[in-house]
Amino acid sequence: MLSIRNIVKQYAGHRALDDVSLEVQSGQVFGLLGPNGAGKTSLIRIINQITAPDSGEVFFNGEKLNQSHIDRIGYLPEERGLYKKMEIGEQMIYLARLKGLSRAEAQKRLKFWFDKLGMETWWKKKIEELSKGMQQKAQFVATVLHEPDLIILDEPFSGFDPVNAEVIKDEILELNKKGATILFSTHRMESVEELCDAIALINKSHKILDGKVKAIRNSYRNDTYFVEYTGEVLGLGELAPFEIIGDTLTDDDRNTIKIKLATGKNSNDVLQYLIPKTQINMLREVIPSMHEIFIEKVNANSLSHE
């Protein structure tokens, strides 16, 4: 769907993107992650042809990115904004027509979306009369009204209250189910595992990690497990196939420990060792969350640069 190859973007004084390459598959929900100022917005602007890269290429459905692709992309910028004095219905239609829709078609689709999101009574309202959350909702509709193949959302959930954030999230997933590819940037990791099929992590203008979310998390497994057991706190013998990381957490007569396997051992070894000694309630592998991976990678990356 989208292939970004060796993009370099230089601004006066700093390099926003340095040799960044990405592949976004058709139908994916793709998360573009990174701390503030990493270069996410620069990359998004290049995909939207707002700015051009100094070197490198972008391919859209196998074709080199050009003006004809503009109408196939919907873009919700991080800094939201609409014409304050313009009526919302008229404004939505205007924006859709700029994306190549006819007036009649835009009107029809807008009616559908307004009904769907409970905005029927807003048509004649001016943007400045709406609350911030309502404006965001309107802007989301403006982004998807022309039914783009690729929807690019820059920090889509910032500014929404939890209820509306949920509504928008559901809409994004539904659009994805209908075939739209979603590319969104965020620095909020909770939403990533829930939504994304694949991610790329950008830090200090470099891509430092990318791939499918499951694969990445699996690759960050490090033989760590949680064990919960009932009974007295265990002391470990020399033959234990693992070591305990940190303290034992005790709640009534239940204890929880975090363990790391010794080399060459597996979870069965742990069970075999523990079963004679105590009653096991739970054994669960610790798969690092994207949040942890993110923090770890960014910190490691920052250290290596200092």
């Binding site: 006066a12 602007r45 939207n48 042809q49 707002i50 700015t51 051009a52 100094d54 503009i70 109408d71 992309i73 873009y75 910028p77 800094e79 939201r80 904004g81 609409l82 014409y83 304050k84 004095k85 313009m86 205007y94 924006l95 027509r97 700029l98 994306k99 802007q139 403006a142």
Partner: protein, 417 residues
């Protein structure tokens, strides 16, 4: 191209639909009408000859002398002194005027009336009327009165050049209507460049501060947006001007009937206005308005893109407005007195000052090649500023919180696409 049309349409409609626009359309002609009414009223009042006016006729042509007939408040006497003595007489007494008719009276403006104060319109009107009749009769005589010939004889138009006799010498107090029209056009251009250029600038700032700019330029190129805005606002300007002109004409017609202004007064205005080549002046006005507007609004758009709020525009506005302001101030003094001086010629060729300078010079019939060169330079000028502005604009609209300086703008200009 279709997208530019959409932008033009939005820019135009949102402005034209505003209440303030509609109010302005009707308010301005009303104000002009009110002003005209006041002037007409005052003129009517001051034009009445309260005291008996004595006109000493010094006639070198020997055609008119003795043929004047006295009317209610005007008495004609034949001069027996030389002109300077008569003039001295007029200088002493404000009720005595000296009418001087040279032998070559047919030459426009050669007939003069000398008086202590500016001669009232009623007096000059009466004299013009009588002289036209006398000249007409004289011509008929010359041609041995033949009815067939009468119709072929061209009526001689007489226009009196009023001259005030003052301590510093004779002063020509009759500013030609032509020049008046030139000045008014220059003033209109000067004002409208700022009004509509300012609207373009505010529009750009609005898009930037409301942050909609990023949504728009993900659909169209920055240049298309800038162009659409400039053309849209320009059309608003044309609409407003057309509405004003039409409404003014209608209202002044109505007012003419309603106030029943004195015949001589209206006739005076109409006869002077009819000497102006309106089509020519109007054509030039439109040309300089449009090219001047395109030239300056592009710069205004660039300024709007470089700032975060209107209060920051000052530092850029000053150098942009300076050439126009300078020319405007010169227009009523230097340009007017010496319309063919090197300064005037240069000012009317440099695109930044030409819209005002050329409109002032136009009534003085500048050489055709200068007009052609000036117009050519206007086109080159606006293409140039649009190019420069577009390069600054495309970078500026995405820059926030950066205090732009001229150095910064120059840097933006050289950014790669």
């Amino acid at each position: 191209m279709n997208k530019v049309l959409l932008i033009i349409q939005r820019e135009y409609l949102t402005r034209v639909r505003k209440k303030s626009f509609i109010v302005m359309i009707f308010l301005v002609p009303l104000l002009i009408l009110a002003m005209g009414a006041i002037i007409a009223f005052v003129a009517k009042d001051s034009d009445k000859l309260s005291t008996l006016q004595i006109v000493t006729v010094a006639d070198d042509s020997k055609i008119f002398v003795g043929k004047f007939h006295d009317v209610s408040n005007i008495k004609f006497v034949v001069s027996h002194n030389d002109l300077n003595t008569d003039k001295a007489e007029s200088k002493k007494d404000e009720n005595i005027s000296t009418l001087y008719i040279p032998a070559e009276y047919k030459k426009n403006g050669s007939i003069q009336i000398f008086s202590k104060k500016k001669s009232p319109m009623q007096l000059t009107g009466e004299i013009e009327k009588q002289m036209s009749d006398i000249a007409f009769n004289y011509n008929m005589l010359q041609h041995h009165i033949d009815t067939a010939v009468i119709h072929s004889i061209k009526k001689v138009d007489i226009s009196i050049n009023t001259v005030e006799v003052t301590e510093t010498g004779d002063k020509n107090s009759n500013l030609g209507a032509n020049m008046g029209v030139g000045i008014v056009c220059a003033m209109l251009i000067y004002l409208s460049l700022f009004i509509y250029g300012g609207q373009v600038m505010r529009g750009v700032i609005e898009e930037k501060t409301s942050r909609i700019i990023e949504v728009i330029i993900s659909s169209v190129k920055p240049f298309q947006l800038m162009l659409g805005k400039i053309i849209g606002v320009g059309l608003v300007g044309l609409t407003q001007f057309s509405a004003w002109i039409i409404l003014s004409v209608i209202s002044s017609k109505i007012a003419g009937h309603a106030f029943n202004t004195p015949q001589s007064f209206m006739a005076g205005i109409i006869s002077t206005l009819s000497t102006i080549p309106f089509g020519y002046i109007l054509g030039c006005f439109l040309f300089y308005f449009l090219t001047g507007y395109l030239l300056y609004s592009a710069l205004f758009a660039a300024v709007g893109s470089a700032v975060d709020s209107e209060t920051e525009t000052q530092q850029f506005m000053f150098p942009i407005t300076l050439p126009l302001l300078f020319t405007y101030m010169l227009s009523v003094t230097v340009l007017f007195r010496a319309p063919d001086s090197a300064l005037a010629v240069w000012l009317s060729i440099i695109p930044f000052t030409a819209p005002v300078a050329m409109m002032v010079r136009l009534p003085f019939d500048p050489p055709a090649w200068q007009i052609a060169l000036s117009m050519f330079m206007m086109v080159v000028g606006f293409l140039f500023t649009t190019y420069v502005a577009a390069r600054i604009y495309r970078v500026g609209i995405l820059m926030y919180g950066k205090k732009a300086s001229f150095k910064e703008l120059a840097k933006w200009f050289f950014y790669k696409e």
